[in-house]
Symmetry: C2
Subunit: 182 residues, 2 copies
Amino acid sequence: MKYCSTCGQPVEQRIPEGDNRHRYVCISCETIHYQNPRIVAGTVPVWEGRILLCRRAIEPRYGYWTLPAGFMENAETTIEAAARETREEALAEVDIQGLYSIIDVPHINQVHMFYRATLKDGLFGAGEESLESKLFEPGDIPWDEISFPTVRKTLELFLVDMKSDAYNVHVTDIRHPMAKKA
Amino acid sequence: MKYCSTCGQPVEQRIPEGDNRHRYVCISCETIHYQNPRIVAGTVPVWEGRILLCRRAIEPRYGYWTLPAGFMENAETTIEAAARETREEALAEVDIQGLYSIIDVPHINQVHMFYRATLKDGLFGAGEESLESKLFEPGDIPWDEISFPTVRKTLELFLVDMKSDAYNVHVTDIRHPMAKKA
Ligand SMILES: [Zn+2]
Ligand SMILES: [Zn+2]
């Protein structure tokens, strides 16, 4: 951030009065521009004991397998965001079963949330951001080609819970060993 | 948003190629400025069967009672944010027991997350944004002076779960009847 989105004049980084963190503050209109983490919402879509994964048609991680997930938009709920991303990436309609994982990724200012879901009718396909979608037996998950650590972590937890058919909500985080300070 | 935070030139609202939503796009450098929901993180702090509430010293809802909560910052986890807000508003150190509620508030582009917590040592006070903090017996919650719907909802759920000492994660939403479209 270099310029004020309210008035177009330059911003500077300083600690505003009554605050304790550096913020971008406009040198002209004094608007404080806060920056906050973003939510990535997705699902673990299941059909007849198999898990639906999408192979990414976009960078980063082109060609790798992922659970359908993406940035939550304004004016929607986390459940709506998770279902929308599943629709967009896997062309699949789902019934949301419950919250499954919340994984904080503080070094990239993100919170990933996955909901358990079942396909409504078993139908799926490849959305614009996917090369293909495919149902995987638990034993056939392509572990060497998983796109992101939060997807891997969620799948690892899910496969364990599948065995006992008892799904808890998992709250965890993934920290980068070389994380830079904000 | 009126100006590009990257180059300082005006932005316009349009649907970028490959997208399906109106975004702020710079007319000069073409940067797309996405806007996403923000997370409010807080705790339900408990000590010897009583719940700690803070009376707000700031607007909105000056003088009303709230659970300690506030906007999650970059480079922290949701648990760290919840504990930090409790430290700042109630001068209390807590042990986080588990996720308790996730309440989507889509008409204001927020997701509120509350964690169950216990005071480490029973100590608390009034931070800069609080007039006072106080432990309430479940039967003495000041329902007519609760600050926000998400706090009320979380307290209502919590009092029910307290009776059975069985705390589930609750995912729900609060929608404004007159919500304007984003
Ligand atoms: Zn300005
Ligand atoms: Zn620009």
